[in-house]
Structures are given as structure tokens and as C-alpha cells.
């Protein structure tokens, strides 16, 4: 499949993002991983166990938090909804095999992308773009939140190294990319 062209939603902005680096803010589109939407009943222990067994870690049940690690993570989206990001494409089928009863696994890899936001100005850029309170005393490592981002939406993730990930929809990526470039101008 080496002759197959794979295009991430922001492939065309890589250079523009590069021009910012060195300043107070560093923006880049993360490498592609699988995105799975997982639905199921959090109070169904067999479902939760099966998911944990397959993923190697438990699904988060605390609102606005995520579990897992760099290779594979699960983000709380709602009381019965999670986003799984993983660089192991086998996870999708493994979940379908492991889970029983009423659940749903939906592959949305093509529909999303992840933007990494690091540097001293990250917090201020988030404040310019979103109404959520990202202050370190409120939004800690291990937190994630779905909220508005400019006139679109994003799942904002606080990573262990203090940097942020924005998980966004493909069709809005170009707009959000332009918004970020505009917001970051004064820091570069």
C-alpha cells in the first residue's frame, strides 16, 4: 500500500505552523492515529471489564478526564461515550470481539485530527479561542474537555508534559488552523 497517498487534514499548513516555532508558541499536527468512538453502559461492569482488558487500561468514568498513555488513550466524552485514540489498528476489531451486548464501536479516524499546542503562550491562545477555564488550578494533567473553539468545537487535552492537544473535526481543521495562526502571530 506504499503507493497510497495519505493526507491528514492539516498537511497543507505544516509550513505555516513551522514559521511560528521559536516563539512563545509551537503548533503542529500530530502523526495520524486511529480514532474510535466507543459507546456503552458505564454501569455495566462486564462491558467496562472487557474494554479494560482489550485496551490495557480502564475507561475513564470521571467526567472530563482521560486514561491511557501516548500510544493509546481513552477520553471521556459523555456518560456512555468515549473517544479512543490508538496507533494499534487492531484495537477496533479487538473491541468488537471482546464487547458483548449493547455497545457501539465506530471508526472515525478519517474525520478527526490532533493539533499539538506547546509553549508559554499556549494557555493564552486557548483563552482567546475558548470559553472554558483552562487555568492550571482547574484544568490539570489528565483532564480533557469538549468545548467551543472559536466558531467550531474541540476536545482539549492537558498532557503530562503540560502541553495541550486539540482533537478536532477534519472539515473544520483548515479554519481552526487559520484561527491559531492568527491568534499566535503576536507571540512568534
Amino acid at each position: 500500500m506504499s503507493n497510497i497517498l495519505v493526507e491528514t487534514p492539516l498537511h497543507h499548513m505544516a509550513d505555516a505552523f513551522m514559521t511560528l516555532s521559536g516563539g512563545g508558541i509551537n503548533i503542529h499536527e500530530a502523526d495520524m492515529v486511529s480514532h474510535l468512538n466507543l459507546r456503552g453502559c458505564a454501569s455495566d461492569s462486564s462491558f467496562m471489564k472487557a474494554a479494560q482488558k482489550t485496551l490495557g487500561f480502564a475507561l475513564p468514568v470521571v467526567p472530563n478526564s482521560f486514561s491511557g498513555h501516548d500510544e493509546s488513550a481513552a477520553y471521556w466524552l459523555g456518560p456512555d461515550e468515549w473517544l479512543i485514540t490508538t496507533n494499534d489498528i487492531a484495537v477496533e476489531d479487538a473491541l468488537r470481539v471482546a464487547l458483548k451486548g449493547h455497545f457501539a464501536v465506530t471508526n472515525i479516524t478519517g474525520g478527526q485530527t490532533i493539533i499539538s499546542l506547546r509553549g508559554g503562550a499556549s494557555l493564552e491562545i486557548l483563552q482567546k479561542s475558548s470559553i472554558y477555564d483552562f487555568h492550571p488550578s482547574k484544568f490539570k494533567v489528565g483532564n480533557c474537555v469538549q468545548t467551543t473553539f472559536a466558531k467550531a468545537g474541540a476536545l482539549v487535552v492537558k498532557k503530562a508534559d503540560g502541553s495541550f492537544n486539540l482533537i478536532i473535526r477534519r472539515s473544520f481543521a483548515d479554519y481552526i488552523g487559520r484561527w491559531l495562526l492568527d491568534a499566535a502571530r503576536e507571540y512568534s
Binding site: P63, N64, L77, G78, P79, E81, I131, Y132, V145, Q146, T147, T148, G153
Partner: protein, 98 residues
């Protein structure tokens, strides 16, 4: 600019994350066919439009996408409580809001 508690995210969140969805506790008739035109119209269009404490539906559209109920005062805009679908609201505070 309302600040609304989402019972699922269990946080106070900004109004811009939510979509208003009208008067709460209006359930769809089980047998619409058995209703008179007038009764059907009442379900479809007629509303309390309360001036005071109002039970209403909101969706956390930019968040967890869940619908829930809010008891809000339509004059002071004070919010008394948020509560999940299918649950019953607390007794209303005595008298008017603040």
C-alpha cells in the same frame, strides 16, 4: 450570559456550550391518532411561557451532547437546579427569586 450546570459533566459551563430546547416535561402523546386536532395542537404549539420559575430543556451541544432539564427564573434568569431527563424537579423555592 448564563452559567449552566451540566449534570453529566458535573460542571458549571458557559451558555455558549448549550442549546435551549424549550419547555420541559411535555411528553409525546402515546396515541396521537386518538387525539382531537385541538389536543394535538396543544401538544404541538401551546406553551406555558411562564413568567417566573420555568422548567426547560437544554442540550450540552458543545460538550457531552446530553439533554437535561433546568429550573430557571425567566425574569431574574437565576438558575435553581439542573436535573437529568426522566427525573423530577425539586420543589420550587418559596416566592420569587433573589
Amino acid at each position: 450570559m448564563l452559567k449552566i450546570h451540566c449534570p453529566y459533566c458535573d460542571e458549571q459551563r458557559e451558555e455558549e456550550e448549550f442549546s435551549y430546547s424549550g419547555e420541559a416535561h411535555i411528553s409525546r402523546p402515546l396515541d396521537p391518532g386518538a387525539l382531537s386536532d385541538a389536543d394535538w395542537a396543544d401538544y404541538l404549539f401551546f406553551r406555558k411561557n411562564t413568567r417566573g420559575w420555568h422548567h426547560e430543556m437544554w442540550q450540552h451541544s458543545a460538550g457531552c451532547r446530553r439533554y437535561f432539564n433546568v429550573t430557571r427564573h425567566t425574569v431574574t434568569y437565576e438558575i435553581f437546579e439542573s436535573y437529568p431527563m426522566g427525573t423530577t424537579p425539586k420543589a420550587l423555592p418559596k416566592g420569587d427569586a433573589r
